[in-house]
Symmetry: C2
Subunit: 759 residues, 2 copies
């Protein structure tokens, strides 16, 4: 469910230059010269196997009927995927979990003042689009894990419903206390909107798809074009997982039998106020009926109305009631046993459940996973023997909030912590450039993979296309300069919104998330129109990017599986930690300057000067200037990390003599088992403040952003939320964790040095 | 006609800090202590006189019926104004000029493919608004000085119709050759749109009012709110005056009997292709019928449609035909003879003609002019004896393009060049802060006036309100720092769009343009709804800013009229020239860097990497990197100017002993006559390249911006248009002109020194 949102994130990817083709046949990192040659040969064979026609056929089959959690076709798909895995010669099984999953019982939205209007809450079938008429099987439009409620109140428009939007409302003298808010989708994950609304005293929340972002402003609407039609609605979960945990809301940590248990009545991840998503067709009469001040300019969308904020005169009645049932969630797990280092696992996943027919989300990614599995099955028949164990996972229940992957990761926590070298995730996929997020110890490795994949459109390498696109969209000379001088392209930090979450955030397994996209506007996210008709008209209709994704991820899986030494690299990690440190320092400085400046302006009577009696505003209060924080422990740790990474690189290079690692298989194995620990070492067993399920100290979904990552979240969110003492504590905590990473890397480097020392 | 547009210009005003009240009773610049005391007393008396009720009554009378050039009520207004001037005891007369002024004969706009639609081209009367129904007297919606034409062609949407918009179209592979373009109003003056369209081969031009800037996006529409209703149209002149000259298109320069004469058939200022303005009600079906690529994101407006650029399938038929008649233009001129230095003139003007009822534009400014005249008449009766001659001008024919003021300025060219010390202009006026543009030798003087006027809303001084508002809206710390440290607020450069144009650009008379505004959204510019009803509901309905304007400008007029030494000050002028020099250097550097970077990207194959086959684009061509230019002559001249200004300031200070100027009246008079020359010295008799009517070297309306000023236009436009040799020549030319200014200032300083040397 993550891709769509990503288009609205700030550009997370930054790329860089360099001579590539020459390196093409240089030995792969972590491989002996001979093994590298053989690996390259197997990979080339692999990349010739994925077929667009097969991808198309899988999509047609998997998206033929609605397949949300608990639906007949969702179970049918699981069985079909299982059969496919088996037919390709893989060991496969279904692992099932019973999880609380609410479905709509009653949904009412009506305006009762100043005139009456009843919202349709229904997406119409379209004659040209055959699956859009499967109404009896479709989940109605709703936000899963909204609390039940029946509320009536004046309406207030709150823009995206971000904390800063409520600050703007305060400047306009508007309170949402006792009101129902209407927020537009995007710029924060949807579950943040009711959360922040409730924190400000609202009693209900409506989320609508605004045509500015998700309708005719972007392109022609479906079925003429790819964008959301007037009655299209974005379903989606509002489970407050960033503040608590994803997966089944009923129990805290399924790996821990002593963790507290919750019910649908008291689970912390269920929204505090009722929430309902609506179309812009339904939103227009409500927004048009608002009075009060004009909304700030950037709040105004593309409806042909003046956007006022209210409150009222529009008064609305909102009812949300769910069937709080437990549903069976079916993960399909296929295994390719390793032949040398079988106790090191390469885990690869993509969910198979959708909100409705879900052709784009998630089937466009699932079909690539299936083609990878088929191709790997083919290679096995041809004699390929992966060193490590490869596990392919078709997750169920991702849409409600990572139900299947979280349950599985927690059920297998002990084994995973011991064995998992990497988790590689995909979700929706489309035409364009490769979006890559991941653990930074994998950054260098992933750059190598990108250099070996051909972009279907430009025929440049994916690395080169991303690199040049990055240059084109760079915001300034400094950014272009870095792009042109840094050997590896940067990859983004992992946030959330798809199935890597439990792996990286909770278990500390080095993870990757990947997908092509960025060229096709799409306005069918989580609607009945995300289907085979849409995808084959407006998406990757030739399935060449589906093939590219299979080639990309399959290559990464094989290269991780077969390496003599697991190709983690820590100097890019250290560089990234330095970037984060600088960002944190800049963030604090910026906050200090902003508050100082505003306090000065308050003293100067600036707010008296700009006061317009016909458009009244409330001057902000004076605020204490944020104190300086002690960043030294983190700076020291970051420097130590950079030095350790350099020592490791040197030791690794020295350990490779005449194209061979001067080590026994046992020594290699011992080293690899140590290296697997490297991401685990980036976690803090205590977890983040107020959300102990999240244990990674370098990245987490933001408590007030949702899917968008917060890097060094303990420190960054403490600064953002003005918890100064906590910020100082968290800096020390992060430094301590990084120091553990330094020790691990040094110990690995020492191990390498001991080989070199051996006769 | 200028104010409305100004709201869309980049922030031209930059202000600054300082202790004020303490200076309040310090002697006025250019005054002896005794004369300063007396002046302050007369000014205070003056400022007590303007009355909101009178302002309201004037507006009701002057806007009661349509009063465009040549209309019965326009002539009636002129007679009425004349009678008012006389009734207040002023010498007054009407000066008439016969000028070519086209009015609509035939206007057709219809879509003939893919479906038929006939544009209404008609603003409906509204029951609540009594004057909106005076249809028989209203000028139909049209663009004056459009060439006659009857064209049929596919339609292309060109955004604002700026040169850079056509570059974007080229990148999309779209040509407008043989097409009719539809452009939206704003971001360049309207006459630029058909000019640039014709340069690119278009055969017709439609300009529409886009609701994003001029409709419901901004606020509720009239009569519920202040914004343009769906059928509201912006009339206006499209005379290409920036490239040629304003005023009667038939002859080149009315002060020069040998200048070439033109006819309506060959006049260079008449548009090259037919142009018609339309409402967004009429535009919507045309824009909705466009196909082709989506318009670039920033081109899309607030209509509830996907904005495509075309060309076609929409095909339109456009007919524009005018009655090319000569009309009588009536300027009303009132004179208050000076008593000491009567051959030095203070000229003050505001136009009285409107496009229809014109309550805001121009009556809101005209009424303040009238109240000033009444109050000055009152002071005369009480014994006030202005040193200099004061001339109050109520201009006719401003809307078609400065007809009355240009004709008068040219008819009186010789006297004005000899006598005029300053021209002070106003036009529309509304609530908010004071917008000030002017000659920079008057910047310090105007700062002094602003300190003495109370802002009606904040009760701060106008200076302080502007200063603090500037801080609030500053774009960065550097700007705030300058605002807080510079003694005087900066004033903007004069562009065009109102009656100061001939005075400053053609004759080199130090000029000022002023008006309050910025708080009230207004969408009635040049429509039948700009009337008394609108203004008294959505404008300065209490007329307190009308009073503030009269107080501001009347104070400026009196203070200029009574000074012992005319209060020009040249160090702010020198500072401004330094700013311009830096801007020009930065502009060149920016162009060099942009082109270098783009050439690099072309070499790197960036445009191959970003190419999306479903959204095809054309890579830009490689371009030669702009050469370095020799800015040294201008830098030297600017430094010399700064030094001369400092010498003058010192000499002036030394010449004032014990609060008295140690000079005879004759010596003062001689100095003043020299100082009057100071703005004339900033002109080049040869004029600007390709537009010799424009003689000022520091400012002119932009050839591709219209009303928006281009500072150091000879150099700046040469750089923008890539005329490198011309840019180098113009730098030398500007330096030479500035050197002339240096000599004049030095000669004035010497004169001052000679007083000091006298026994």
């Amino acid at each position: 469910m993550s891709r769509h949102l990503r288009a609205f994130w700030p550009l997370l990817f930054v790329f860089s230059l360099l001579p590539v083709q020459a390196l093409d046949e240089a030995p792969l990192d972590g491989y002996s010269t001979q093994n590298s040659k053989s690996e390259r040969s197997w990979e080339r064979q692999f990349r010739a196997l994925p077929e667009p026609d097969k991808l198309r056929a899988y999509m047609q089959r998997l998206s033929a009927r609605p397949h949300h959690v608990g639906s007949a076709y969702d179970q049918d798909n699981a069985q079909w995927i299982l059969a496919q895995f088996k037919s390709w010669g893989l060991e496969a099984r279904i692992e099932s979990f019973d999880i609380l999953f609410p479905t709509p019982k009653k949904r009412v939205l009506e305006m009762i003042e100043p005139s009456r209007f009843v919202a349709k809450l229904q997406e119409p079938a379209l004659a040209v689009d055959p699956t859009s008429s499967q109404q009896s099987e479709q989940l109605p439009t709703y936000n899963a894990y909204s609390v039940d409620g029946d509320v009536t109140a004046p309406l207030v428009y709150v823009n995206y419903g971000l904390p800063e939007d409520y600050e703007k409302l305060e400047r306009l003298g508007i309170s949402v206390k006792g009101a129902i808010v209407i927020a537009r989708y995007y710029h924060s994950w949807r579950g943040i909107k009711p959360k922040v609304a409730a924190e400000h005293g609202a009693i209900g929340c409506i989320i609508y798809s605004e045509p500015r972002e998700d309708g005719y402003f972007e392109d022609d609407v479906f079925p003429k074009g790819p964008m959301r039609p007037p009655d299209g609605v974005q379903r989606g979960s509002v489970m407050d997982f960033p503040s608590s945990f994803p997966g089944d809301p009923r129990n805290f940590d399924r790996g821990d039998p002593n963790a507290p248990r919750f019910t649908a009545q008291n689970a912390p991840s269920i929204s505090k106020i009722p929430v309902l998503p609506i179309s812009y067709g339904d939103a227009q009469p409500l927004l048009a009926a608002l009075g009060g001040p004009m909304a700030p300019e950037r709040w105004r969308g593309s409806l042909a109305i003046p956007y006022h904020v209210g409150p009222g005169p529009a008064k609305v009645h909102l009812v949300v009631e769910s069937n709080w049932d437990v549903k069976n969630v079916n993960d399909v797990i296929a295994t390719i046993p390793g032949t040398g280092e079988a106790d090191e696992w390469i885990v690869r996943g993509n969910h198979h459940d959708g909100w409705v027919n879900g052709a784009m989300d998630p089937i466009s990614g699932q079909i690539s996973l299936l083609e990878e599995a088929r191709a790997l099955g083919e290679l096995l028949k041809q004699g390929w023997k992966p060193k490590r164990t490869i596990i392919y996972c078709a997750w169920d229940g991702e849409e409600p909030m990572l139900l299947g992957s979280t349950a599985w990761a927690e059920a297998h926590e002990k084994e995973l912590v011991q064995h998992a070298a990497v988790y590689i995730n995909t979700d929706s996929n489309d035409r364009g450039r490769l979006d890559l997020e991941g653990s930074h110890s994998l950054e260098h490795f992933l750059n190598g993979v990108m250099r070996d994949i051909e972009d279907p459109e430009s025929k440049l390498s994916v690395w080169q296309r991303n690199h040049l696109t990055g240059i084109r969209h760079a915001k300034d000379d400094d950014e272009r300069k870095e792009l042109r001088s840094r050997a590896d392209q940067r990859i983004g930090a992992l946030g959330s919104g798809t199935d890597y979450t439990a792996f990286v955030d909770h278990l500390g397994i080095a993870s990757v998330n990947a997908g092509y996209g960025g060229e096709d506007p799409e306005g069918i996210y989580h609607s009945i129109y995300d289907d085979f008709y849409w995808y084959t008209h407006f998406g990757d209709r030739d399935f060449v990017y589906g093939r590219a994704l299979a080639q990309t991820i399959g290559t990464a899986v094989m290269r991780m599986a077969d390496a003599d030494v697991l190709p983690y690299q820590f100097s890019n990690l250290a560089d990234t930690v330095h970037v984060y440190l600088k960002e944190l320092q800049d963030l604090l400085k910026k906050k200090q300057n902003e508050i100082k400046e505003r306090n000065t302006e308050i003293d100067e009577e600036v707010f008296r000067a700009v006061y317009d009696p016909r458009h009244p505003t409330v001057a902000p209060p004076k605020e204490e200037v944020p104190p300086f924080l002690n960043f030294a422990p983190m700076a020291n740790a970051a420097d130590a990390l950079a030095q350790a990474a350099e020592r490791y690189d040197k030791a690794l290079s020295a350990a490779r003599k005449d194209g061979q690692f001067a080590a026994t298989d046992a020594q290699l194995h011992e080293l690899n088992l140590k290296l697997i620990e490297s991401e685990r070492k980036l976690t803090d067993p205590a977890g983040l403040p107020r959300r102990p399920w999240y244990k990674h100290v370098l990245t987490a979904p933001g408590v007030y952003t949702g899917y968008e990552p917060k890097t060094v979240p303990g420190v960054r969110e403490a600064i953002e939320q003005k918890h100064w003492a906590e910020a100082d504590e968290q800096i020390e905590q992060v430094a301590k964790v990084l120091q553990g990473e330094v020790e691990l890397i040094d110990s690995a480097a020492k191990e390498l040095a001991s080989w070199a020392a051996a006769p």
